[in-house]
């Protein structure tokens, strides 16, 4: 405070007021003694005459006026005194608010860190993603091909820079142990788009995109952990995939891009993709790239969008074989793209905690109104000595503010734990979770909602109470029962509103739970129990094709030879893993235009894969070691492919021609087996066509070993590295997991959503029950006289019980009815999060309603039971 003198003056004035009242009391006592009263009774009589000293002082103090702040301080001190005097009320109110505010602060910290915080680059709003849109049936964003990207870049004028990127894994050798690193293969403009320069060295330049260039930029973390922050790292050569790469830069600490993939440990130029007989950079049908760009200043997203659509439409006409159904290109903010999948769930959760806070507010408003009845006298006196309505309302609002700030402070404490728990629970596929924490923005938000909360729960009681008919209250001698009745009607309305909100939350949570149960009930097509998996990656320089398949044959045999391994095989890509390969194919004898060729998921496997995974072979045979290069080309298809493309026929013996792009390999293959469908990308997807080729006929450098174990999977998990090292020390082993873990990870996000929404719905349920209980208990206390008279007139206990419970149920059921109607409109927002459940699933809605009704019944029973046990004599005397 700037003016200690004034504060001191205030204290002196306080002391003087104490003295003044004390002297008044002393003189009154002396006069009574002088008049002949006995000293003991004189003191008591004088005190009685003066009345409530605290109130006298308080109303006197109010005359002092003074600065706005000083008045506020006085109101606050008075409010604090009052709250201290009723610790039970204060505790319940603060606890309810802390729950509501804490949950909001915790969820907001996640929403802010993930959705709202701008990208950590200069002018982040200008960074956009450009994605081809499928114009065949549903408009879904697709990956781009290099030739398309080059044409976009050359023909567009809306951007200052445009760059391609794709995630890759590379094996680094030369250290003590081969390490598999995650990275991004980017075009040279990548860092120009982000306008972020390396902390050490240089960014990529155009020359780095040419064949033969082998340059790499390290992440700060990789530089620290693998190279001991060596300042002389620039110009050094490191071995990636068996080839030397020159380190040209180290990015600043914390730099990451993209945000929705595994954290990159390095960035390399696209030189690699320009090499080979049929390089990726000249294959328009090979689509694996993401494109980012920076909008030119003054160019809007809409005009860039229009330009890109025109360019895409042109390319579609020019290259119908590859681009016919890619006639549009979407321009969206990169941040929006990266968090697109988690946006709806996070906003739904934010809405849910908002609802919880509303319920908490209704509860506190209820408590304030209940307490108000006992305060009628005080408020009446304040009004009688000329404190205006506004003055009284201000005092009441100050008290609400104190409550809400206390609740906010406690809520922030809860949020500290809540956010930590959220981060632990959250599935790792929520981008940017690392940024989430309680910071100034979250504090500001918490303060903001605390103030808003005070308004929400404080205004209605303050308005109602300051309007109190003063003379009436005084005449009633403080019972205030008439005001009580009208307050109770208002409180009943609050309870109905609470119940309605709780019903909406319960319905939402119920839908997510039902959806999760459906999801977990989905059979993935393989049997996930007791299967250990690990990834390996062969450096292509050291492993030409024939050596690749031999290595995996040897690896699978070594794994099989381990004790406890029932069967083993290798595959790429693993179902529910990170990778997905889709390839177009043609059916012999059924020619279609190239643009209309069907696509299917493509897998390369070793013999024994289906047995190991528990995927049924429905007809035909598995691959055998004899399915090699020199043998007739074969393929195994899944049931979905057979059913869709060979309806009513036997697919066995039919021949298809997969358009395998990478190695230019293109042969017609005979279908030798039909296997069961497998969920390869997600449990909630429809069964779709897939085919498998034997790895000896088409080998690949990266595969995942799968092994079915008898007994403890940990044994193989521990041994995997040793087994691989015994074959080749330079081959890294990574992602050592079980199939169950993949399965769990695939439902982590829906489980997180369902769990959180259920917790919030549960909190809402408890708060609502407390609110209902409060209103009924108070109603019983108001109607005590009526109840005992009824009993005296012969009403049985059951009648009383029924009377009170009926009132509770009427309130609760009105709330449930309104709530479920609202839910009918609101749960539509959940549609994208639901699997095999309609947003208006009647069973779920009925369940939510029943649960609420049951809780309401329980909450009503206690006050009702108490009413039946009223002792008429005592009750009436109490009046």
């Amino acid at each position: 405070m700037k003016k200690p003198g004034r504060l001191f003056g205030r204290n002196r004035r306080e002391r003087e007021l104490d003295d003044e009242i004390a002297s008044h009391l002393a003189m009154a006592e002396r006069d009574r003694i002088d008049a002949g009263e006995r000293p003991e009774s004189a003191r008591a009589a004088a005190e009685r005459e003066i009345g409530n000293v605290a109130i006298v002082k308080e109303v006197t103090r109010e005359q002092w006026g003074g600065a706005w702040l000083e008045q506020l301080g006085r109101d606050a001190r008075y409010g604090l005194r009052l709250l201290r005097r009723s610790p039970g009320f204060t505790a319940v109110a603060v606890a309810a608010l802390a729950l509501g505010i804490g949950a909001n602060a915790a969820i907001f910290s996640v929403v802010d860190g993930v959705l709202l915080r701008p990208l950590p680059f200069p002018e982040p709003d200008r960074i956009v993603a450009v994605e081809p849109l499928s114009t065949q049936s549903v408009r879904v964003p697709l990956s781009a091909s290099y030739p398309d990207f080059f044409d976009w870049k050359a023909q567009s004028h809306s951007f200052t820079a445009m760059a391609s990127r794709r995630g890759i894994g590379m094996t680094m050798t030369g250290g003590s142990e081969a390490a598999h690193l995650a990275g991004q293969l980017v075009s040279s403009d990548f860092f120009t788009v982000l306008q972020t320069a390396p902390a050490l060295g240089r960014a990529f330049v155009a020359a780095d995109d040419r064949p033969g260039a082998r340059v790499v930029i390290l992440s700060h973390e990789l530089w620290q952990t693998r190279f001991g922050s060596d300042p002389g790292i620039l110009g050094r050569s490191i071995t990636l995939e068996g080839r030397p790469h020159t380190v040209v830069g180290v990015m600043p600490r914390g730099f990451q891009f993209p945000l929705d993939e595994r954290n990159a440990e390095f960035w390399t130029s696209l030189a690699m993709d320009t090499e080979g007989e049929k390089p990726w950079t000249s294959n328009r049908g090979l689509t694996a790239m993401n494109v980012i760009a920076r909008l030119r200043p003054g160019v809007s997203q809409e005009s860039a969008q229009a330009e890109m659509n025109a360019i895409a439409a042109n390319l579609a006409r020019q290259y119908p074989d590859d681009d016919r159904y890619r006639a549009e290109a979407r321009v969206i903010p990169e941040l929006r793209r990266a968090v697109g999948n988690v946006r709806t769930p996070l906003l739904v959760l934010l809405g849910a905690v908002g609802c919880v806070l509303l319920i908490a507010c209704a509860n506190v408003a209820n408590l304030l109104l209940a307490r108000a009845t006992t305060r009628h006298r005080e408020l009446a006196i304040r009004a009688a000595i000329g404190a205006g309505r506004r003055r009284v309302a201000r005092q009441l609002m100050t008290e609400s503010l104190i409550l809400s700030l206390l609740g906010g402070a406690a809520g922030l404490g809860l949020a500290l734990f809540g956010t930590r728990a959220l981060l632990r629970l959250a599935s790792s596929n929520i981008p940017r979770l690392g940024q989430v924490g309680l910071d100034a923005r979250v504090f500001a938000f918490t303060l903001g909602i605390s103030l808003l909360t005070a308004v929400l729960f404080g205004v209605a009681p303050a308005m109602r109470l300051s309007r109190t008919d003063l003379t009436e209250s005084l005449k009633e001698g403080g019972r205030g029962s008439e005001g009580g009745v009208s307050h109770n009607r208002f409180r009943a309305a609050l309870v109905v509103a609470e119940t309605a909100i709780a019903a909406v939350l319960l319905a939402g949570a119920g839908l997510l739970i039902a959806s999760l149960r459906h999801l977990e009930g989905v059979h993935p097509g393989f049997s996930p129990r007791d299967v250990v998996t690990f990834d390996t990656s062969l450096p292509e320089t050291a492993y030409p094709e024939d050596k690749q398949s031999r290595f995996y044959d040897d690896l699978v045999s070594s794994v099989r030879a381990r004790g406890g391994v029932r069967s083993a095989a290798a595959i790429f890509p693993l179902p529910l893993g990170d990778s997905h390969v889709g390839i177009t194919f043609t059916i012999e004898g059924k020619p279609v235009p190239k643009s209309d060729e069907p696509a299917a998921a493509f897998r390369q496997v070793t013999p024994g894969y289906f047995t190991t995974m528990g995927i049924p072979i429905l007809s035909g045979r598995d691959f055998t070691p004899r399915d090699e290069k020199s043998a007739p080309p074969v393929v195994i298809v899944n049931r979905a492919l057979a059913a869709r493309y060979f309806p009513g026929e036997n697919a066995l013996g039919k021949r298809i021609h997969p358009g395998i792009a990478r190695d230019g390999e293109s042969v017609t293959r005979e279908i030798v087996g039909i296997v069961g469908d497998v969920k390869h990308r997600a449990l909630d997807e429809e069964d779709s066509p897939e085919f498998y080729v034997p790895h000896r006929q088409l080998s690949i450098a990266d595969m995942t070993v799968v092994a079915r174990i008898d007994g403890d999977p940990k044994i193989l998990q521990r041994d995997a590295r040793a087994i691989v090292a015994s074959l080749d020390r330079d081959v890294p082993v990574f992602h050592v997991r079980t199939l169950d873990e993949y399965l769990v990870a695939s439902v982590a996000q829906p489980r997180f959503n369902a769990l959180l929404l259920s917790v919030f719905a549960g909190v809402a349920l408890v708060l609502t029950a407390v609110g209902l209980y409060g209103v009924l208990a108070y109603a019983v206390s108001l109607r005590t006289r009526e109840i005992v008279i009824r009993m005296a007139l012969g009403a049985r206990q059951n009648d009383i019980l029924r009377m009170v419970v009926r009132r509770g149920l009427v309130l609760a059921l009105s709330g449930v009815g309104i709530g479920l109607l609202v839910a009918l409109l609101v749960t539509r927002l959940l549609r994208s999060m639901l699997f095999q459940v309609a947003p208006t699933d009647p069973l779920t809605f009925a369940g939510a309603g029943l649960l609420l009704a049951a809780v309401a019944l329980a909450a009503s029973w206690f006050p009702a039971h108490r009413a039946t046990r009223l002792n008429p004599m005592e009750a009436l005397r109490g009046e």
Partner: protein, 121 residues
């Protein structure tokens, strides 16, 4: 709850009349709060009893608008007391309040006497 009801005055004071009573009481001599209350009660023959919860707020309000001033003194009983006295401004206010009160009485009596006279605007 066993609550007493000391706030019911035998005659309810009209809003604003308390200020007039206090100023009038202080006209001849400075007085402390208890003394003012006692004087009002005595001179009204117990008809007007000033409630402490109204008296002190009124005194502090009058002090704030500088109609009265206060100082601490020691009474004949060796009691430290806060004594209020009328200021020049208070005297002017008393005159104003008095004439307002008299006009009110006049008007009221006119009405109560049968309302023959038309109320003047």
């Amino acid at each position: 709850m066993l609550e007493r009801t000391p706030y019911q005055n035998p005659i309810e004071l009209l809003q604003g009349t308390l200020d007039l009573l206090i100023l009038q009481t202080l006209r001849w001599a400075p007085q402390h709060g208890y003394g003012i209350a006692a004087a009002i009660r005595a001179s009204s023959r117990d008809a007007l009893q000033v409630d402490t919860g109204s008296l002190y707020p009124a005194l502090h309000r009058l002090e704030r608008e500088k109609s009265v001033a206060s100082e601490w003194k020691v009474s004949e009983n060796k009691q430290r007391v806060k004594v209020y006295r009328l200021t020049a401004h208070g005297r002017r206010r008393l005159t104003e309040e008095r004439s307002r009160w008299e006009r009110l009485i006049e008007a009221m009596s006119g009405v109560l006497a049968g309302g023959e006279r038309e109320a003047e605007a």
